[in-house]
Symmetry: C2
């Protein structure tokens, strides 16, 4: 039997690249899942230190292959070398951060209730709870961050830290990059004397591969970053399984920006330049791209718009990640631009796709709710409102988003106070006097938000809290100390922070 | 227009009870949701102390109506007066506990990252996150706890504590009880000078009512306790909305019990009596009823079974909660009992339904996976395994469950250690040398578990952590102190426990 294969495509030339990759399918999913299940219990019960050493070793192995990884990713994604070097550093930093998180106990949420044997009318039992790993999970690589949100990205790092074996469905736009990264996992697992089936990369261009993965009964949760269309289809499959499973999908966002009047007067020119820089970063292929800016009509605003137009027209061309993304970008721009109530300003590059700015009024925005849909690529829309009341009214009708940004001076604070509660209800992160692109990987980050920003708005896919997606609580009632897991033993041998009878018992080893 | 009405039915006599209740439908849902949304922002931003005072006032109002509530609940549920008095006390205790929780800050998960303005290559921003209320939520009352898991139950108490307006779909088995309880909410809201639309009770017997509620775009989450059949249908609706929402459904559990051999020798007789008491508690209509007991064939086990048979045959009859539950119980018993590979022992009561015990072998159990399905009512099944390996092998094939119980002596600990990791993977709570009925309302409780025990295995529907179901995180990047919510201000005016740069800053006011 000949196994089918596929090639990567250079988005700059649209030619095939060297290297053939297997078209894997449902039998490969079954093999990977069955193998993962066989070692799932062993991996769940490894010490946090062991998992930390695995994550650090993966980071070391990636560093050792830095040159190869960046070179291949550059060919497959058309992203600049400096950006990819930075992204690899972010990827290894994430792995090392989750190595640290694994050894800290807070994510296990250890809570103890002291028994009261003589309570009337019923004794109060000894109850202790902590979080345990869910079992084998699936991760879908994203096209726009071929390293930090892909094979070795934050989903994989956080799931391994939690103790879940991971099966990655590699993104077909960068199979060669994923292949080198997967070989680093294989090396690291061998160096750490852990079974290979802790991590599996599956490759292929068919939808069936991802569908089979999400539906496999052994898979207990899914991490996904990508489009609303593809993500919602997989979400629906995950929810319609006999046993539905959590599907952590980050599906898209408009990331609205609100510029308040005094700020506009004071800094309109500079804001215009910052905005164009943010919306074209990564060729507008960031999930946090500012996709719509709300401004209030004024002289300062006219000048702001004029600066933006100049900046847009000066833009070089962009090579998008895949020819599919490029085709979709061009057709969406054409379609939206054909509407009479919107104005389109474009750059005129010699190569690649043009940078596009749409301008419209609040009334036209209200009449065209489809304009809230994200267009992937170097494009954004500026909506001119008649006054602040008009802006505030519009803000109530925005879809869920990863971010909402407020540009305001001290003199705008009274208006800001009216907008903030609305923004809290529609976004996972509120940015003040900055731009939404650039997502810090830290403890307090929230990369999520109401649907479609996330299919699980109570979660974040970036930052240390992302580990909680791969866990569930278990309570133990009246277990003798000898039978309790180490995190819950009375003497606290792992030295984790515990909440006892509702009071946090501090432990600042952490 | 005449509005249709319905009556409650006395399950003991199957006669209509006094009192007519409105058959509400989708227009009532729309009115309730729209009204809830109007005050949602105001309610979300009330002080924790204000919400605590509301919860305590509701508890006071329920106490003031204790006699009426218990009397009506007795008529509608056929549950004994003492049980209902106890359940009302539990209900008011839950409300008061969530009043306390509301004023403690831990559920807001306050996390701060200190900025590093001169970090290279990029400045680290000031990031602060906390949890906020989701908005209006729906709660479905359960039939088997007409007070503690119904209109004023744990779902409602935890959602109000979080700051979410609540719309309850009352269970049609006890509309009069729900009606009195709802009048206590109305009084309490008035006493606390809060808008009435913080809480709405909707009543009716149609499926359309619940369906309209789950699908209403204003509703942001659902709490449900009930059957797999009904719960899964509503879960599917919630997930197929344009904006899917979290559906916290507790749908059913077999609650397996494992008795290890030395324990059986030492205490078989006493275990037999405890088991029959636990399985018949509340006429076997507890979600934590031990639905299957695994034992190992032995002389001690024979004696254990013989004691159970005696206990079963001595049982009085049971009046089940509704005639629907009774019909289903009788037909499920008949159907399962007709199988040749299972043995059925019954009581012979003069009134009501009989208590039933099924006995079978591990082989027959393997051949009939449908026996894992919960039968609501005073019934359980004992499965005799050939040896411990047989028992251990069976344990790997159990559905998700609220609880798993281990009965073991010190001499059984080596076997217990082999079973425990398997039980952790299938249950939300592990009970040692006890019985699963009886769910403590405390900090460490987990009432949930892998599907179908819960549609959201990372959550609990009982205990203080239940508040987290109604929240989602928001991060604030570089917001000036003046614009930050109080929980996140630098001076910590609400005095909540905070995690700063990954380190818990203790605050034992809490």
């Amino acid at each position: 039997m000949t196994k089918e294969t596929f090639n990567a495509i250079d988005p700059a030339t649209e030619q095939y690249l060297n290297g053939e990759f297997p078209q894997q399918g449902s039998s490969d999913v079954d093999f990977a899942a069955t193998s993962a299940l066989e070692i799932s219990e062993q991996f769940r019960r490894t010490s946090p230190a062991k998992r930390a050493s695995l994550l650090n070793t993966i980071a070391d192995c990636l560093e050792a292959e830095r040159e190869n990884i960046v070179k291949r990713a550059q060919l497959e994604s058309a992203l600049p070398e400096a950006r990819l070097n930075g992204e690899l550093s972010r990827t290894t930093a994430q792995l090392r951060l989750f190595a640290e998180v694994a050894t800290l106990g807070w994510w296990q949420d250890v809570i103890l209730d002291t028994p009261i044997p003589d309570r009337q009318p019923l004794a109060k039992p000894d109850l202790r709870r902590h979080n345990i790993a869910l079992g084998p999970v699936a991760v879908f690589g994203a096209s726009n961050f071929p390293l930090a949100f892909s094979t070795a990205g934050g989903d994989t790092a956080s799931a391994l830290a939690a103790g879940c074996p991971v099966i990655v469905k590699g993104h077909p736009a960068h199979p060669g990059t994923s292949d080198i990264v997967a070989s680093c996992f294989a090396n690291a697992l061998e160096l750490c004397q852990l079974p290979q089936s802790v991590f599996t990369l599956l490759q292929g261009t068919s939808h069936e591969l991802g569908q089979a993965l999400v539906q496999h009964p052994i898979i207990k949760a899914v991490g996904f970053t990508g489009s609303i269309h593809g993500g919602r289809a997989l979400f629906d499959l995950a929810q319609s399984r006999p046993e539905p499973i959590p599907f952590y999908g980050e599906l898209g966002a408009a990331n609205p920006v609100f510029i308040l009047p005094n700020k506009m007067v004071a800094e309109g020119d500079s804001l215009a330049k910052q905005f164009v820089q943010s919306m074209t970063m990564g060729s507008g292929q960031f999930c946090t791209k500012p996709g719509v800016v709300f401004v209030i009509k004024s002289e300062a605003c006219d000048s702001f718009l004029s600066t933006i137009r100049t900046e847009i027209q000066a833009q070089d061309g962009h090579t998008l990640l895949t020819s599919g993304i490029k085709q979709q970008y061009l057709s969406q721009i054409d379609f939206r631009g054909a509407d009479e109530s919107i104005q389109l300003i474009k750059s005129s590059p010699e190569f690649g796709v043009e940078t596009c700015l749409f301008e419209t009024t609040s009334q036209a925005w209200r009449d065209n709710p489809q304009w809230q849909e994200e267009i992937f690529g170097p494009q954004s829309i500026v909506v001119s409102c008649d006054n602040f009341q008009d802006m505030l009214e519009l803000s109530h009708h925005l879809s869920g988003s990863l971010t909402a940004t407020l540009q305001a001076n001290k003199a705008d604070y009274n208006l800001a106070k009216q907008l903030l509660p609305v923004l809290e209800n529609m976004a996972g992160r509120i940015v003040f006097n900055g731009w939404p692109t650039g997502v810090e990987v830290s403890h307090a980050m929230v990369h999520g938000g109401p649907y479609p920003a996330s299919t699980m708005p109570a979660s974040t896919s970036v930052g240390t809290q992302a580990i909680k997606r791969w866990l569930r609580p278990v309570a133990y009632q009246s277990l003798p100390d000898e039978l309790l897991p180490d995190t819950l033993k009375q003497s606290n041998p792992l030295n984790v922070t515990r909440t006892i009878d509702g009071v946090v018992e501090i432990n600042n080893r952490e």
